[in-house]
Symmetry: D2
Subunit: 359 residues, 4 copies
């Protein structure tokens, strides 16, 4: 219950702090007989890794994952899969100057208020470093989904005020990895990259939006009432550091539409029931209907900035906080694989849950 | 795991279909010693009840709740609280014409795809009637929160294109119940009401936004990683029928801000640590910081409309669906108490979880 | 977490006190498409019902179950099944004399210590009346198991010092219901019945043992580590009121055996792998091996007796407690259907869990 | 749900196989501010370690635990505690001869039936090696309980037919660690040791019983209905490899007693409510009453024996299995710290759960 477990049947439990000895996770419930492509897991981690381009944090971490258990002769056995990534570049000294200060819009104050203590080095448990464990677990979920023909693809659709118009159908998602921003529109990507560099030069940060689409999802995934598929997807996204909003299908814009315009008509297309439009975002009554599932997640500007900021310390005294640590000017390029990982874990979980639907 | 339970420590399990014998719930984990004001529970249900005004569905249900257990001499005992609301006005005949048809943007098709069977009367389990059980459970959570000085207040901030500018601080929330729309701005409420009536006259429906604020919440609620307070709030909202999006604090708009502008500076105000701005929406690193928690939930237009719609039936044949059942032209006025209920349940749960934070 | 839910995927949540308005439960996760024989559910309740014979409590309760939801046209729909049994014969006055007294070996004191309050009427939530809800839920589990050819049968194998020698294979389990004791050996049953009557005449009570066998269980049910099939069965039994011990297979007696004697040799019997002996009780490494699963559950003598007993009241003062309420002289005859219900729920849950074992 | 997690609020998730790279666990929910004596954790592991005496398996494992996270400046932070023990002495070759054979009364066959695959080396996940992770987690639970004055002590009370008469009150538990059998009666310990050596010399194995007592436990721990304190203790014990039975308080012997004899009278002892006898074993209605909690767990003879045994292989062919691996002639001496660990984890969990009992 302490919040470090995600999923019911395909579930991960993560551990680790930014500057501790290792971060890692246990994947429990991954079905037996899944071939594990360890290189793929490592490649997914590389997509999230710091230092991968000029527009992300320059902290150096190889993020080499070690597999401890649950895999035998290249396949999962049904036993829990323990994994760890040892922290290589833990410059604890970088953070001593903020040991008793509460950095604005970080978790320093709230962690202190909750536990009366905290590992202040690099944000400790609240560091986005924790998401590496999610990506490792999500990579296994992706391999599982692959066997169902399900694919999760995310991309950057907005950085600051620069917003890609249209939907996921208007872009070529195979181009997402072709630029450091992970925006599949090359023109927009170039603008975003320039903008992020400007912001970084000013010692500042900016927010963004990650869009995602899940294709190949069969009808029938999701539960009624509370564990609706989109509710679990929403929680998955909102649990990612810096995420402030989630919408799926027509989302906030759908609010202004009429029912007659918003409703997705069913039709029989060569024996398969499909909808002519997809404002529902592939989910109706909380359960997938076989159409593409698409959603958007909003990320706030990173809280670590260079200019001095007014704050208080543990004693409640006024202090000045200065951003010395290495940080991302914009979180969304590296958030793309995290969004995919969390979506993959959510869908994998619901595939297993679906297996109990009928006698 | 079948999705009908919400919460970890303060938890509800709901049951019931639109046209079955009764809907109801079990509240498990409500602490002992809480005085239960049964009239308050009933009053909350009245806020959600059909037929309460001209702009909501005219289905007639008294929604009289019966308490089965867990309360003794006016107080909770720590035992589970069973409650039921018997269905009075179950006109099953109304629905025979859609027994094998999939109504567009309803859950008919997905339920059929998942379970191979469904109670088609009034949407069965997918009916918004299920939310009455949430409101009953949420009323107990509200009573629990009251003992902590915590209050949850929601209101309608948008209907179709009619959007109330500004934030919750710009309106007088004591006026929310003064009009049938539940918009605290009387001028805007009048416009919204007229608009909803127009839409209804056209046999159509329209979406809306419910905004909410939680005041009096102490710092320290929420868990790191996956069970962040806002992630659980988001899931709670997204689990409500017709909800398509959730954002808290600066939300999607915060994306375009710079970190230097978005960060909330801490200051010591008469011995209490507060923030000068509140783009964080009262939650940092997933944990409450003692400031107001505010969020918005988007609701799509109701799927039931009067004009004939093209669809298919279970056999995959093209059919026409006509809206005969009683329905809401706009869901948000009645969604207000549901949003409050789900938020109250979420916070109550995290208050209990917080009790395990320290040795 | 408040303890009123059993099972992970096939799960029940019960509510209700001895003298409240109703007891009941929600069955969540029962797969769709199961024909529900309501008469069978009622018949199972009749086996647990008070007043069914001279050797059980004479409290009069019809124990008529009402189905609220989750069943449509005679079949489960996958939606939660709400059920209630209204309390007919709630003589609250019977218990006013013990309102502030702690009855020896009852839960009065511990409930008071835990919650600071309690519904003292008839033991409130701690009353064995709660087990009626288990039997109703277990009846659905039995119907589910039946479709797999799995059967759970329990019987009384010991009352006080009167112990049936041999194993479940030495008796004809079809005779269990032929006598009020529910001991399949007619001679022993007669002795036990006489003994129970003697004990009752003395105003006293006595304990007993219920034995059970699960036949038709496929290999592969159960999880490694903590949720071993026998561990969940053990918890299920120990959760029944008055249960003090559990053993399966060779149990406590197996302790004195040598490995060479205790090991069950595998052999191929017409293409099926079986064991020549079954000291393992059908479970190896926590997972079923396809052989019969058998176990025993020990029940202490009922705490309610007629002779005056020394005790204390809430103020800590010495008081005398006298047994006025109607009670069972021996719990095991009525425990038989409860043991079966809890075992059926456990196996049903593991059948659903097993569905996620492989890719 | 895959069975590798124990506990609700103070919870462990374990991973690892006998011959994989590492075993380990995540402790989630351990409250913040607990001083962690790492040497104590290591000392507990030493009590379980193979090779510690002549009467246990001679497999050589240092069982050196590494702490990955959740501890900062010597104290828990409330973040999950990752731990691992690397496997040093993994002689995979020892097991190639049984790669496709099902060893009698091992989990080989059931794992194969469940997952269609298995790590056959040393039993893989079904190896008792997994219990090292439990002991590490249990050591943290013990440190937590210590701050409450609660102590868990287990000892060997039976080996084969050699049974220590009397109760835990008749022995001096401070002597348990004074001999390799972990029986606090030196005379009996010597007999047991001789007996185990004889059995080992014959290439055979024998079972035993571990008794335990929990002192200092406050009244009020445990939940009604399903999560009774003794039900969770029972599940904890039964989840340990080779455990076949559990009883608490009067247990199976209490069956033959009369209620008038079995009931524990309450009395006021200097302002504290106590019972004059303790047949209840410190638990009434599933909730602790402040008296000593005591129980017994039965362990079967270890399945690995030296003499050749008839069995079958994956193809269903008759084969002979010979015991070549290193193994324990009797499991109970090393089971003592495991029993203590699981009991400590159970009580720690219920202490946290108890914190939600009252408003």
């Amino acid at each position: 219950m302490a919040g470090n477990t995600f999923g019911q049947l395909f579930r991960i439990t993560t551990f680790g702090e930014s500057h501790g000895r290792a971060i890692g996770l246990v994947v429990d419930g991954c079905p037996a007989g899944l071939p594990v492509d360890e290189a793929f897991v490592q490649a997914e981690l590389a997509r999230r890794r710091p230092g991968q381009s000029k527009i992300v944090t320059q902290r150096k971490e190889a993020d080499q994952v070690e597999f401890f258990s649950g895999i035998f002769e290249g396949q999962t056995t049904g036993s829990p899969i323990g994994m760890a990534i040892f922290n290589a570049d833990a410059r604890s000294k970088d953070y001593s100057h903020i040991a008793d200060k509460f950095r604005p819009s970080h978790a320093d104050y709230t962690y202190h208020a909750k536990w009366g203590t905290r590992d202040y080095r690099g944000g400790g448990r609240s560091s986005a470093r924790e998401t590496a464990a999610r990506v490792a677990g999500g990579a296994l979920a992706k391999l599982f989904l692959k066997s169902y023909g399900i694919e999760v693809r995310a991309y950057v659709s907005q950085v600051g005020h620069l917003s890609l118009p249209g939907s996921y159908q208007d872009v070529d998602l195979s181009k997402t990895e072709d630029n450091p921003v992970r925006c599949p529109d090359m023109g927009m990507a170039a603008k975003m990259e320039r903008f992020i560099k400007e912001v970084r030069k000013a010692g500042d940060t900016v927010g963004g939006v990650v869009s995602a689409v899940i294709t190949g999802c069969p009808a029938g995934l999701g539960e009624p009432a509370f564990d609706k598929l989109h509710a679990d997807l929403g929680k998955a996204m909102l649990s990612i550091n810096a995420c402030k909003g989630f919408e799926y299908g027509s989302g906030f814009e759908g609010v202004s539409m009429r029912g007659s315009e918003h409703n997705d008509a069913f039709q029989n297309q060569d024996g398969q029931i499909v909808t002519t439009t997809n404002h529902s975002g592939g989910i109706q009554g909380g359960i997938s209907n076989g159409m593409d599932i698409y959603f958007r997640a909003a990320f706030k500007p990173v809280a670590t900035i260079v200019p001095p900021q007014a704050s208080v310390n543990e004693a409640g005294e006024a202090v000045t906080v200065e951003g010395k640590g290495r940080h991302d000017p914009c979180v969304v390029p590296r958030a793309v694989p995290i969004v995919e990982a969390m979506a993959a874990l959510t869908v994998a979980d619901h595939i297993l849950r679906q297996r109990s639907a009928r006698v």
